[in-house]
Symmetry: C2
Subunit: 207 residues, 2 copies
């Protein structure tokens, strides 16, 4: 199909599709003449994914590009491919804790990972974020919440187990896509459900 | 203490503190002379909170302002106060689903809320986000994940229960602060833990 039909099929305006093509988020169509290209199902699928990442999960375009590139890198082990998408999802954060608070939190988090039996790279960006968060919670006097780290980890393991059960894709490409969608939209799912569960609890307790 | 000492105590540069004062994120100090103000413990506490929201949870400054204002609105029921902070945390998102997909997802989400017994306002922004997410997952062919909506909701209820147990604050102001910190940094905690649990699972399955 031509770009106009691709726009109709996805509801995405032609200039936006051209922008995604220029930014390398969307693969070029097959040239049918020097200034006309033809697009297919794979473009519709990719545009829907880009749209969900940009508009719904509110991932910045630069990160979407990295995520999409990680999906196309199917010549590396699946674990490394997922790792690339993960890193694109975890922007570097300015450290906020004092060096002492961070060192103490690092010891706590390390013990947590050992207790849970989680195997993670020491330089995983999410590890730094977790350590900063524990340090911030302690600095802000929220020790009560930190006391529940293991219970949090247990609930998180439950999500991960569900997500692994959910990704039963027939091909390697679709598996990678499912994992990435599950990671990103799964978070939107958890976040919005959590606000609703909190609202409901708050209505019962504090209205 | 003077602004320079406040800067030393928190590690936040004086120009940044002045910016927070101008933006209304931080209450003015007590004037001790026409061009000198004095700051106290309450300012240190608030600056630490602002810092955690901006740098760690990466909440935009405009939203931080609304959150901080909600904390200072202690003349309304606690439930309404928390609702204000919640709304500041849930930016309006561009709809991505087709009207048909959205209508079907709304029915699914409505049934979920009824099954879980969650009482939420029909115009809660998180409700719109949840509906859009379910619609997007279906559009992207991730029906497997949608099949686990109830299991997700169950794990989310566990978080909320932990968080309610954790907020045992002696005063109403501290209770509101705890709830808001728990909501926001709790999310950073869950998000970073989830990426780590996924990395560990992926290492076991796909390396």
């Amino acid at each position: 199909m031509r770009i106009g039909e691709l726009s109709k099929a996805t509801g995405i305006p032609v200039p936006t599709i051209k922008y995604y093509l220029r930014e390398g988020l969307l693969a070029p169509g097959e040239l049918t003449s020097p200034n006309q290209a033809s697009y297919g199902e794979v473009h519709i699928r990719r545009l829907r994914l880009i749209r969900a990442l940009v508009d719904l999960a509110q991932v910045p375009v630069a990160q979407v590009k990295e995520i999409v590139e990680s999906l196309d890198a199917d010549d590396i082990p699946l674990h490394d491919q997922i790792g690339r998408a993960h890193r694109a999802l975890t922007p570097a954060r300015k450290p906020t804790a004092s060096p002492e608070a961070r060192a103490a939190a690092a010891v706590e988090v390390d013990a947590l990972l050992t207790r849970r039996g989680w195997t993670v790279e020491p330089e995983a960006p999410a590890l730094a974020t977790l350590i900063e968060t524990v340090a911030a919670l302690r600095t802000l006097g929220q020790d009560n919440l930190v006391a529940f780290l293991d219970a949090y980890a247990e609930a998180v393991e439950r999500f991960t187990q569900l997500e692994v059960e959910a990704v039963a894709a027939p091909t390697r490409d679709q598996l990678a896509e499912s994992v990435v969608i599950g990671t990103i939209l799964g978070e939107t799912l958890i976040t919005s459900m959590r606000l609703l569960a909190q609202e409901s609890t708050s209505a019962n307790l504090w209205r």
